[in-house]
């Protein structure tokens, strides 16, 4: 889909519950990571994981909601466009009136590959790892992410996956995809 076509289809995005509506019950806490990391502090400029707290980012609610097991993003309160990644201002109408909405937790793999060599600092021990672009079910968003739960040699296009939150081992959280059958 061209960028333009994608933009058009976003306008008709499925309506999602706005942030101030009652939150769905918090999901079960994220499962412990299969390979717990050390709490060794990396230099900031060699650490891809972002700083997540309110004193560091205006998007801290993304991480707070992720900690509850909810993948979320922002939607423009004026023109209704759904953003990824979450934003503080709408790229179309430039308003800063945006609201948090939950995203579907399931999707299907659009494309995938794997990193077999040349991983960034701190990820060398995770090689080989699979990554992919995942079409989330019911919304016009295609998210990039790690795909866990199956070796890359056994993945296929169209593979159903779900989003999961995980603890990166130093108090921060991030998300990834896991294969479901």
């Amino acid at each position: 889909m061209s960028t333009e076509a994608k933009r058009r289809s976003r306008e008709s995005a499925t309506v999602l519950p706005p942030v101030e509506s009652p939150s769905p019950p918090a999901a079960a806490p994220p499962a412990p990571p299969p390979k717990p990391k050390t709490n060794e502090k990396r230099p900031f400029l060699l650490d891809f994981f972002p700083l997540e707290t309110p004193d560091q980012t205006r998007l801290h609610r993304f991480y707070e909601r992720l900690r509850e097991g909810r993948l979320s993003t922002t939607r423009c309160s004026r023109d209704g466009s759904l953003h990824w990644p979450p934003r503080t201002a709408c790229p179309r109408c430039h308003t800063e009136a945006v609201e948090w909405v939950d995203l579907p937790e399931r999707g299907h793999v659009y494309a995938f590959s794997a990193v077999l060599a040349g991983a960034p600092y701190g990820m060398e021990d995770e090689v080989p790892f699979a990554v992919g672009l995942v079409d989330l079910d019911g919304v016009p968003l295609r998210l990039f992410g790690r795909i866990e739960g199956r070796p890359w040699t056994e993945l296929r296009i169209g593979q159903p996956v779900k989003v999961e939150a995980y603890d990166i081992g130093d108090g921060r959280v991030f998300y990834r995809f896991r294969v479901v059958d």
């Binding site: 061209s2 960028t3 590959s113 077999l116 672009l133």
Partner: protein
């Protein structure tokens, strides 16, 4: 194209490769080589310097590289001194900035130089530098770098159009063969037969080592001036007849289909239109083959063949000597290596050298008049295009 006519009047490329030398030493080396290559050039002529450098902070722990490069090269610019950064297209950005400055009258004689030192003692630190070209807080934590992204592009192209690994290898074989006649290429004097390419280790499936350009140290520089002063330096100027750029996205979520690069189609159409020619008038093209699949999609986006037919265009040799036009006679990023800031400038040096018939016979395009240079940056986020015409009157 408005303003004064602008041409490249000389240029030079250092050897590319894993070089036992530092960032400042590369700048010094390319400066000395430039004054040898353009003997009429005097330091005091150069009023402006544009320095293409993608990530000196990450690769060389060095910021403020424009005055550093000027000092290393023995230049004291007095109109415009600045760095241009657009990841893999940083070099072409330096040329486009110099072009704009000269066309507008702000500069009369400018040098565009590209320098990149990418080989570090730690491969994982170098990979981190490549990773932060992506959207760092969102794509970075997943381990996004260029190879897995372009691997997904290749996977989709294979799925949608039946493109094969053999067709990818055809691109790599051609560009490595041209690199064999380019003594500055990283893979000069190395043979890559198609069957050998298909046995190399996989980096990111389906891409193998031979499908990927490398981490490279190197520098390149060109001199640009206006129609008023071109003849002081050369009888074979490479005139800039068109240039355009288009930005599609940054975060990988906004990459669209992956197999369609509308930004390139649009930038090429505009640059060729500015030159008053069509794609079939081109004699050669330096295309951004950071990966084999990139060159295949570039054939399609430029309109050299229909969408989906880029693989066949490659395996039929239509981008080779004797084909429709010659693509990447320099050896491409695959054969020459890809020192990010230097690549776009080395491509322009190739165009200048092709126009003046000063390259090895094995890669000389017969009597070329029109050339196109393309750089993409990041995950094909931005496409930058220039169109050059050989010699003649302004």
């Amino acid at each position: 194209m408005s303003g004064r006519a602008v041409a490249i009047v000389g240029g030079v490329t250092t050897p590319f490769g894993v070089r036992p030398t530092t960032w400042p030493e590369l700048a010094q080396e390319v400066g000395a080589a430039l004054f040898r290559a353009v003997p009429e050039l005097r330091s005091e002529d150069v009023d402006s310097l544009f320095v293409g450098a993608a990530e000196p902070e990450r690769f060389a722990f060095q910021s403020h590289v424009a005055p550093l490069a000027a000092e290393q090269m023995g230049l004291q610019p007095y109109r415009i001194l600045q760095r241009t950064e657009l990841a893999c297209a940083s070099g072409q950005s330096a040329i486009r900035s110099a072009y704009a400055a000269i066309a507008s009258g702000l500069s009369d004689v400018a040098v565009a130089v590209g320098v990149e030192k990418m080989n570090l003692p730690s491969m994982s630190e170098a990979s981190s530098a490549m990773g932060c070209v992506m959207d760092r807080p969102w794509d970075g934590p997943h381990g996004a770098t260029a190879p897995p992204f372009f691997a997904m592009v290749a996977q989709r192209h294979m799925l949608e159009f039946g493109t094969t690994e053999e067709q990818l290898a055809a691109v790599s074989e051609k560009n490595h063969r041209f690199a064999n006649s380019n003594p500055t290429a990283q893979f000069h004097a190395k043979t890559f037969a198609r069957d050998k390419l298909l046995r190399l280790p996989i980096v990111s499936p389906p891409l193998r080592l031979g499908d990927c350009s490398s981490m490279t140290d190197g520098a390149a520089a060109v001199v640009l001036t206006s129609e008023e002063r071109v003849r002081e330096y050369t009888d074979t100027p490479a005139w800039i007849r068109g240039t355009a750029q288009y930005s599609d996205f940054h975060n990988l979520a906004n990459a669209g289909s992956l197999t369609e690069w509308p930004g390139l189609a649009r930038a090429a159409r505009e640059a060729l239109g500015g030159a008053g020619i069509g794609v079939h008038d081109l004699d050669l093209a330096e295309l951004h083959d950071c990966f084999t699949i990139s060159e295949i999609i570039e054939y399609e986006s430029l309109g050299l063949c229909a969408r989906g037919e880029g693989g066949r265009f490659a395996s039929d040799g239509r981008g080779d000597l004797g084909g429709d036009l010659v693509v990447n006679p320099r050896g491409g990023l695959l054969g020459c290596g890809h020192p990010l800031g230097a690549t776009g400038i080395a491509q322009a040096v190739e165009v200048f050298d092709q126009f003046s018939h000063s390259v090895a016979a094995a890669r000389q395009v017969p009597d070329p008049e029109w050339a196109l240079v393309h750089n993409l940056s990041g995950s094909a986020n931005v496409h930058s295009v220039m169109v050059y015409q050989r010699g003649g009157a302004a």
